[in-house]
């Protein structure tokens, strides 16, 4: 890309924000007038509208997940060797120096994964996590016993076409999400719920984001962990 292209490419496009409906009323009206005066801006918005239609169509046809996860074909041997070497270095870096390695096992698909004795059932407390019409209030979880484990029964809005979901947990502070647990893979049960367990011992009071990730989508739930004073 040329330098001018570089500048254009790294700047946020107002056309993207307009097409996504992320402008305020006044800004939207100003943008529309400028779009009428500048056909190049209108062309950009047109491309975005068509791309969105294209993505929706591929999703309807059920092609998206395969396109997202396809592996590259015709990889040259040299590139393959270089890739493996890079992966090995990356993995080593990840294992020995990353934050990910230091993250606690605060999320699990089974209580036994926490590796500590438990006296069931009194130490497992269940909560339902689901999207509701009511609004965006976090699901309130009160941890009354320091050694208890929380079972979350998650009801994803969109059923997964693949058998598993990736579940992540991050603490929200000042609109920033900081991962607090290693990601896990979880499956949907026969009842449609995805069950995961949370070890709250290392999680201070606050709001957390529980993300349920599918290959082509993500759903986020807010939970608030608190302890009685």
């Amino acid at each position: 890309m040329s330098r001018a292209d570089d500048d254009l490419a790294t700047a946020a496009s107002p056309a993207e924000r307009y097409a996504a409906g992320r402008m305020g009323d006044e800004e939207e009206r100003e943008f529309e007038v400028s779009m009428l005066e500048r056909p190049d801006v209108a062309s950009e918005v047109d491309a975005i509208h068509r791309m969105r239609a294209g993505f929706r169509e591929l999703q309807t046809r059920g092609e998206l997940e395969q396109l997202l996860h396809r592996s590259r074909t015709r990889v040259r041997p040299f590139a393959l060797a270089a890739g493996i070497a890079a992966l090995a270095v990356g993995a080593a870096v990840l294992l020995y120096s990353s934050d990910f390695h230091r993250l606690p096992t605060a999320l699990a698909t089974s209580v036994t994964d926490f590796g500590r004795p438990l006296s069931p059932p009194s130490h497992v407390v269940s909560f339902l996590v689901a999207r509701t019409r009511g609004g965006r209030e976090p699901t309130a979880i009160t941890v009354s016993n320091p050694s208890e484990i929380i079972a979350l029964q998650i009801l994803p809005s969109v059923p997964s076409k693949t058998p598993t979901y990736r579940i992540t947990l991050a603490r929200m502070k000042n609109d920033t999400a900081t991962p607090v647990a290693r990601d896990i893979e979880a499956r949907t049960g026969a009842d449609g719920f995805v069950r995961v367990y949370v070890e709250p011992a290392n999680l201070p009071d606050g709001v957390y984001r529980l993300s349920v990730l599918q290959p082509a989508s993500a759903e986020h739930f807010a939970i608030r962990i608190s302890r009685p004073r």
Binding site: L8, E16, A20, G21, V45, D46, A47, I48, F55, L68
Partner: protein, 199 residues
């Protein structure tokens, strides 16, 4: 602008004087933007095309009979006309949905418009498929899907995928560029449907 030699106030003045070429020029100049406003509000390509014609019919009728208070605001006047039409149509659509059954709606659907729309969507899907196939990074493919399909907040996508906003914008920029190249190669250039209204 298609003809930068004529200013917007001049154009409005010429339309008021009955200049048919000025009317044609006005449509050519603004139709691209009007279509996007309508598309953005209705989310329906064929309806947007229909309302685009209506926008210009209303605009020209008004300009032929009564001068604009501030002719320099011609684009704002046209944009507002388009918005009003689209919003009114959405309200009507909501009412139709509750008043009529599916069969009734099917009967009033325009078969030609449906076919055009299908061809457009099919071409767009094909171009998007090629872009996704060409992108080597799953992360970049995920950026596009989460942004264009799921309308997720860009800050959230950046956080989840561990990229900064500049990298995010580059992915979108390249995809848009490639998308337009693909459509151009397929010869998708919408015919000017609106010159018909001036005859």
């Amino acid at each position: 602008m298609s003809d930068s030699s004529t200013s917007n106030p001049d154009l409005a003045h010429r339309v008021l004087g009955g200049d048919k070429r000025a009317e044609a020029e006005l449509v050519t100049r603004f139709q691209k933007g009007v279509r996007q406003i309508l598309m953005r509000i209705t989310g329906n390509l064929s309806l947007a095309e229909e309302l685009c014609q209506e926008t210009f019919i209303i605009t020209l009728r008004r300009l032929r009979s009564v001068p604009l208070e501030d002719p320099s605001k011609l684009p704002a006047f046209i944009a507002q006309t388009a918005r009003n039409l689209a919003i009114a149509e959405k309200r009507k659509e909501r009412r139709r949905r509750t008043d009529t059954d599916g069969e009734g709606i099917e009967l009033i659907a325009d078969a030609t418009a449906t076919h055009d729309r299908w061809a457009d969507v099919s071409a767009a899907a094909s171009a998007v498929r090629t872009i996704l196939q060409e992108l080597p990074s799953e992360r970049d493919r995920s950026v596009l899907i989460r942004h264009y399909l799921h309308d997720e907040d860009r800050a959230l996508i950046c956080r989840d995928l561990g990229i900064n906003e500049a990298a995010f914008n580059v992915v979108l920029f390249r995809a848009r560029k490639r998308f337009l190249e693909k459509l151009a190669r397929r010869g998708i250039r919408r015919a000017d449907l609106f010159s018909l209204i001036l005859v």
